[in-house]
Amino acid sequence: MSSMRNSNRSLTYAQALYEATRQEMERDSGVFVFGLGVDDPKGMYGTTLDLHKLFGADRNFDTPLSEDAMTGVAIGAALAGMRPIHVHQRMDFLLLCLNQLINIAAKSSYMFNGAVSVPIVVRGIIGRSWGQGAQHSQALHSYFMHVPGIKVVAPATPHDAKGCLIAAIRDNNPVVFMEHRMLYGNAGIVPEEPFATPLGHARTLTAGDDVTIVAISHMVVEALRAKHLLEEVGIAAEVIDPVTLAPLDMDTIAASVERTGRILAVDNSWTMCGTSAEILAQLTERLQGKRQFRAARMGYAPVPCPTTKPLENLFYPNAKTIAQRAYSLVKGNGASWDPAVSEATEISEFKGPF
């Protein structure tokens, strides 16, 4: 590493994840990475590339196809004082880990009254574009948010990808770390030195008085594009990225909605019993009798994800549909508007296969 720190250095989201992991492995010999394919020549899109060459085969290794037991292995190693990072190339595979994560990892600190801690990081990458289909595109954060004792983080920027991953590794609790394939190529300024972004704090990305848009994971990028479209019609949107979903920073969200009187919660998943529902429920509890507000939610269409492009395009919210929904919230439900917008470049330029 250069001794001259470049304060404006730019990294992609994937590079930021790699740098966070490598720096934490340098700092703490108890940190290790494992999961299907982490030490293969592709190195999990570069995020774990060749870490075994730097730190040894016991600290970055491939596993049998045994997600259930390997999650238990992570917990057992954590009980012994290590800090495992268990990587899943698609978040859908976390469904095979639920028993260990929910029955053991989330409960051990409480059930054993603080006698043990389970400092594990479970990285799950949401797949998208193109043709990932029903089993390679799911975002399961709300499953984990439901259960006390587990933290859930979903960084949207390279800066947060690095800072939150470092914070997750150093945290003494199980952390589900949700990444998005469409964010991997996005670049942004990331400090070279290791830094931990405190978990549990939302980021207000743009200031605006007309409508609050809370967006999650890749939807943050789409919401920021929507914000620019809305400017064309004189609507100022305040875009908030919760960054951490559990614990959820409702103070920041509620303060914004109290001011704007309008909330659009855009999830990178389904709306039913999801994060957007939780946000609206908590806003209602906090603001009823104090501030009237209008509310709407957006998320995946209520169907399994189709692979064919014309249907897949309808499955996800995008900058245009987000802007339109925000417009009707502000102008009244009857109001419609058809902004000219092209598909997001990370989606249109994706060449596959995975």
């Binding site: 596993t63 290590m82 054993f112």
Partner: protein
């Protein structure tokens, strides 16, 4: 059992067996009072497995077990007062009253938290063994589970990884024949846990009749091999639960097993058999001491206070 060392070992083994038996008999006695508001899965009849295995372990060896965990907890050296206080739901319990009988823990003596979900601690034991090996520790891990765990897929994933990585772990399959009321022959085309372990090239051995000394001897040999870097070993210990799956009752009235089968195992009682090997004075001295310790533990639990309302929310997350 003639020389001093053997007599001392014999007394130590009897003390451990008798202590577990009497603790559970005291639980049965107290249970109708409803002072213990926790489902109990008694080890009566199965004491010899935990006692035989733990008699060859060192204090810093690690044990993972199941919700039928009283015997393991006590045999490995778990604090009796804190265990009883935990069953009573009291603040001084091993988990501050938040866990009960199914989730005992005493990490100071290497008893990791037990689980009520069959087979869930098996991969954790493997993970702990991975950490020990990575850190070149001399300690080993023992994973206790019932034959019911051999119905669960995660057990095979765990055996596979332990063998693949040659981890320092001893798998102890406590085969008590029944998963609640379901006999092993109704769950496996062939009840052959050892052969199943053998598929992963894990040396496996079956011990019949719950024989404490044979369990101890097999464990000693296995533990030596594991400590020498030989990778995992597997021992299936045939045993039998005398009481109901859960709760303090006898369960003959449910007729899911024959009286003759149960009576044959009761006739083989290891507590009585090994007690009979001691001189009557020595035996009585042990029993007096243990009875006094148990009385003290239950009195301690009675006197301990319940957790206060503020403790509902503590330790959800670890600082």
């Amino acid at each position: 059992m003639t020389n001093f060392t053997d007599t001392a070992q014999l007394e130590s083994i009897y003390r451990s067996l008798y202590r577990i038996r009497r603790v559970e008999e005291k639980i049965i006695e107290v249970y109708p009072s409803d002072a213990i508001k926790s489902p109990v899965h008694l080890s009566i009849g199965q004491e010899s497995v935990a006692v035989g295995v733990c008699s060859v372990l060192k204090p810093d060896d690690i044990a993972f077990g199941t919700y039928r965990g009283h015997a393991l907890y006590l045999a490995k050296g778990g604090d009796l007062k804190r265990m009883i206080a935990e069953l009573y739901g009291k603040r001084d319990g091993s988990a501050g009253g938040k866990a009960g009988s199914m989730h005992l823990i005493d990490i100071g003596v290497g008893v990791m938290g037990t689980s009520a979900i069959v087979a869930t601690t098996v991969p954790q034991a493997v993970g702990y063994a991975f950490a020990l090996k990575s850190r070149k520790s001399k300690s080993i891990v023992v994973s206790f589970f019932g034959e019911g765990a051999m119905d669960e897929g995660v057990s095979y994933e765990s055996l596979n990884f332990a063998a693949l990585r040659k981890l320092p772990i001893l798998f102890i399959c406590e085969n008590n024949h029944y998963a609640i009321y379901s006999h092993v022959r109704d769950r496996m085309p062939e009840p052959n846990p050892c052969e199943r372990a053998g598929v992963f090239k894990i040396p496996a051995q079956k011990i019949e009749h719950g024989d404490t000394f044979k369990i101890r001897a097999a464990s000693e040999k296995a533990v030596d091999k594991i400590r020498a870097g030989g990778g995992p070993r597997f021992i299936e210990c045939m045993t039998y639960r005398w009481r109901d799956h859960v709760g303090p009752e006898e369960d003959r009235r449910w007729k899911y097993r024959s009286d003759a089968e149960l009576d044959e195992w009761i006739k083989r009682d290891e507590v009585a058999r090994i007690g009979g090997m001691l001189g009557s004075d020595a035996r009585r001295a042990i029993e007096r001491e243990v009875d006094a310790e148990i009385a003290e533990a239950f009195a301690f639990a009675e006197k301990s206070s319940f957790p206060g309302p503020a403790e509902l929310g503590t330790n959800v997350f670890h600082a």
